[in-house]
Assembly symmetry: C2
């Protein structure tokens, strides 16, 4: 992939190195809470919120603000700052808080740095699994610092063995498109549902053919495009729902190009 | 749980210790294949089969036969022996071979010892995750040798946060009951699908409310009842499909008792 923004490579590598350092700090906070226990609350939208989410986001924010005081920060749990900056950091301290709260180890921390809406750096860290995925624009995708690339089977029809990962049906319902979920699971009987960024990293790693996520926020997917494209995959935004005074909701599909292409017709406006 | 079979406790502990030792050998074989790569074939039913499945089952069979030459062995990949013995070992060397073959680390080895159809010892080992779950009749359930027990929320209705794990829709289709899958995902929009024994161990560990598995063979579930009941959970077989000359197919539900009880009406003959 060519660098389509005017960021020198050394500067990009510096952002990446620091972002990876920031994530070692959130990992430490999360593992500490996992060991010692934590309080659980519910947010206005009735989703889970734990002490670990807030503390992990706080250490990431403090670290970013210390290194880059002029950069913007948009996190899931705390108010945004410097929204007019060309550089915006997106933070989801614990993606899959319901899983974290229940002890299911597949949750992860998502950190993305965007420059004028172009992703420069993307990280998904799975503290409980000891797996950290990172990518930077033009620099490739890595799992625990080992370069990874997708093998595309170049299929022309979807066989029963092609693994497809979906959001839960509830996520499709948010935009009244549960019929798309139903069509997927009926047509592709071996569809999986993980409900956290474990699906994203499985797909970026080429372990699944494609993943479809419906009605998520930018902090849920700020690292996805880079992790997938830098590994040789395809990423398409199929929906954007804007609502006055709220962050947009995005629906995306990504994975091996041949699999993504075969699934795209589901999302045509007439389907 | 009381010991309802006449096996002395010391003998039971001996079976358990040896079974745990057997599984260290299959884990070594599987991790070796994962590191060096392996050939992939497809079985008559079009499911995956790798060199690792056959070699892992072979080392388990050899180890069992050496310690217990008179015991029966029923494995997924190789012919049964000593079928008339009161003691039967069930082996699924890699449950979730499709996941193993694709690099998804949630697959596992399932080993169960039954005495006159009563489970005595049950093990699910996740080599790639470094997690081994075991249970023995009356001796409790353990994760990496640490005792675990379920916390039952004693709910009287299913909230949106109760995690329910299902087989894929394809598994329900095998007995023409895909409508049950559809009813589940529609009524419980946050249902998860893992497609291997990671769901079983999540549920035995109390990380999910309940799991429903449809149309699986005994080697898929030979450890499940013990792992769940010894952790304080509830296990119910809701279907058994017998077919001349083939192993029976079972459908089961298990998990926290209050959650299982709320889901049971789905399986009434009239639903």
């Amino acid at each position: 992939m060519t660098l389509d923004v005017s960021i020198p490579r050394t500067e990009l590598q510096n952002y990446l190195s620091l972002a990876l350092y920031f994530v070692t700090q959130s990992r430490r906070v999360i593992l500490k809470h996992q060991e010692t226990g934590f309080g659980i609350n519910f947010k206005a939208d009735r989703s889970f919120l734990t002490e670990a989410d807030v503390e992990a986001e706080t250490v990431l924010r403090n670290a970013i603000a210390k290194s880059f005081p002029d950069h913007g920060i948009i996190g899931e749990e705390l108010p945004s700052i410097n929204l007019k900056s060309d550089f915006q950091w997106y933070i989801d301290p614990i993606d899959g808080t319901r899983n974290f709260a229940n002890g299911i180890p597949t949750f992860g921390t998502i950190l993305g740095l965007h420059y004028k809406e172009t992703p420069l750096v993307g990280i998904i860290d799975h503290p409980a699994l000891g797996l950290c995925y990172h990518a930077a624009l033009g620099l490739g995708t890595f799992c625990n610092n080992k370069k990874i690339a997708m093998f595309d089977p170049l299929i022309t029809e979807l066989g029963e063995h092609e693994i497809i990962i979906l959001s839960t049906r509830g996520m499709f319902e948010r935009s009244g498109e549960a019929h798309l979920f139903d069509a997927f699971v009926t047509k592709h009987p071996a569809t999986y549902i993980y409900y956290d960024c474990f699906g994203t990293t499985r797909t970026a790693h080429g372990q699944a053919g494609a993943m479809v996520e419906f009605n998520v926020k930018m902090w849920d997917i700020s690292a996805t495009k880079l992790l997938v494209e830098e590994a040789g995959g395809k990423y398409i935004q199929v929906r954007e729902h804007k609502k006055e005074g709220e962050p947009s909701m995005y629906s995306i599909i990504f994975g091996k190009a041949s699999v993504v292409n075969l699934l795209l017709p589901y999302f045509s406006p007439t389907s």
